[in-house]
Subunit: 375 residues, 2 copies
């Protein structure tokens, strides 16, 4: 903060508030903030009144570091919770050298105007990405949460793929996956997950679709991208499944994706940069002649993408032990669709995948005998 | 739009983009917009390149009304997808009389600056809430989706409450609910749901918490607030469950909540205003002497809260047939916790609840015989 010229920092992203204080309110649709000041080791939470109970239940902060603003300010056209939040900030600090996470959910120009007017600050310093820098190297405890989540997501993926059969509803497959992501394994309880992405179509090239009302029939491909959570720490995993006899294009695109995946995976080791990982992917993937425009991964942690680093050719972040990446070879092109991903931790001696499910396309070929084959 | 002095309107909230075009990309973490111009009946979608496939799969728009911007602009510190989005807007309209949904996810001051600079507009007109006004009265098709969702949420609530028993993990109860919300009933497939809210504690007064790692024991109360979805249209439902012998305070708070609920419910009929509904609640609830600061409900539709109207004393919106409200008596106070809610449609002849589960606290009293009683 000092280097950035800040004496106070308003953290507005709930993922970052959670990182600093443990707070879980799931309430970023209303104004809320964690205030960090240079003079104090302890942040101050400013929340909607009813969410104070969420903070006392989840955060390590004592009551004197949590302030609620009045419920009457919520959903009123002329009420401004941001102006009130600013007043509470003034009770904690008089500094005008203040950083704010400018790109936070619900913090638009009108909210910015209310906040800056009451505080009397000329301009906020942009604190976007500051907390993300702290988050990109995980502690042993953080890694342990992601490794526990890995056990859950492995089992959820196996059960979801196992439920695909002719006539099954897509929604039933989704339900089986979500049950496991929430319930967890016998030994590890699941935390609240994101909704699985699972487009089901002939080539399934739409990246972010969920399931539909339809039933499975032969010739349909499913691109699963799912994540399990422990205390908001995520382990993500993607696989492609195909119901019916695998077409040649599926084998070709899998071979390309796997080749690129392995190239990038091997490069995820200390000393390399994110850009070098991206180039290691391209070197192996490009010769296959399949178009892929999107990046191949990013730092993953609290609430999934955590903004720490991006596996793109021009990201020169150095790879160090304790980083965790979602390495995702997603092909979402007009003529082709495929997805293969794992959550990978970086150790002194190189990359370690957190999950165990094989790196292959799962072809469910319903035989005339009615027997299903999962291979 | 004409009355608001607009010739063009940039819709940035995905819920509103979905309302206007059918688009489902689940991608409001990157810039995207639906552009509406006075001269055309058909909106124009501007999306991240990979999400164009999501649009062709879900929207009624033809390809000529969907434009993707380059993947290379994503997650680049110096790339500005908003400037690029502005260029695409310029290809569709030269008007400077432009409305923008200023309070949209991810549209902060920096993004606003990029957009307005490229467009050369002096100031945007604030279009917050414009689309919500259209959404507050539901069509028969929209109502049908919410009624289908009601069947799912009723069953999910029964199954979740039925799974509470001594030693059960909270996460197992969550898993059972999420399975049903996703899978749907035998006749109606579920759509992607929000994560259930289900604080489990002695009085469970934290409003937005999810489940934890813990196991159930006697004396624990669960406040369920869950929603099922059909094509993004929601039916929400809340009930309180208690494991053990119900304490007197639970009976008292239930009596107060039910009294207030019924007062508000009966007032949800054409001719009344939202404010009158709120007062009808207070008239019945206040004599019980329990503190409750938060509002008692809001218009519900696409993606849950849809911004159409709020059940607060100073909201003078007139109640008309076709409106649908989530009537929620939530008590999230330092000393008390309880929740009772239903999704209610307004008809010519008065209010109709979409769900059927009884309005009572569900007390699961594990008897020495091991037999459970659900009443």
């Amino acid at each position: 903060m000092e280097n950035a010229g800040m004496e106070a920092l308003l953290v507005l992203n709930e993922s970052n508030m959670n990182y600093l204080t443990g707070y879980e309110g799931w309430s970023d649709y209303v104004p809320q903030a964690a205030l960090v000041t240079l003079g104090s080791d302890v942040p101050h939470l400013i929340l909607r009144e009813m969410d104070v109970q969420c903070a006392t239940a989840t955060s390590w902060l004592t009551d004197s570091h949590i302030t609620g603003y009045e419920e009457a300010l919520i959903a009123k056209p002329d009420g401004s919770p941001w102006a009130r939040l600013a007043e509470i900030v003034q009770g904690q600090t008089s500094s005008h050298r203040m950083g704010v996470e400018l790109t936070a959910t619900g913090f638009g120009v009108l909210q910015h105007r209310d906040l800056i007017q009451v505080l009397g600050v000329e301009a906020f310093r942009n604190a976007d990405g500051m907390v993300s820098q702290l988050k990109k190297v995980k502690s042993p405890n953080e890694l342990a949460y992601q490794e526990e989540a890995a056990q859950i997501v492995d089992q959820a993926m196996r059960e979801g793929i196992g439920a695909i059969t002719e006539g099954a509803r897509e929604s039933d497959v989704a339900g089986i996956i979500m049950h496991r992501l929430c319930a967890g394994t016998d030994s590890v309880a699941g935390g609240p997950p994101k909704t699985p992405t699972m487009p089901v179509a002939k080539i399934a090239n739409a990246p972010h679709l969920k399931w539909t009302d339809q039933r499975y029939s032969r010739g349909l491909q499913t691109n699963f991208e799912i994540g399990a959570f422990r205390h908001r720490y995520c382990c993500a995993l993607s696989r492609t499944a195909f119901l019916g006899t695998a077409p040649d294009r599926l084998r070709r695109v899998h071979a390309a994706a796997l080749d690129g995946f392995e190239g990038a995976f091997d490069a995820l080791r200390p000393g390399n940069t994110c850009g070098e990982v991206a180039r290691a992917f391209s070197n192996r993937f490009a010769p296959h002649g399949i178009r892929k425009e999107s990046r191949i991964g990013y730092s993953i942690g609290i609430d999934w993408t955590d903004g720490g680093a991006s596996l793109q050719e021009d990201d020169e972040t150095e790879i160090v032990p304790g980083m965790v990446f979602h390495l995702i070879i997603g092909i979402w092109e007009p003529e082709e669709g495929y997805v293969l991903s794992e959550t990978v931790k970086v150790t002194e001696s190189g990359p370690v995948s957190l999950t165990e499910i094989p790196r292959e396309p799962f072809v469910i070929d319903a035989r005339p005998t009615g027997q299903e084959q999962l291979r």
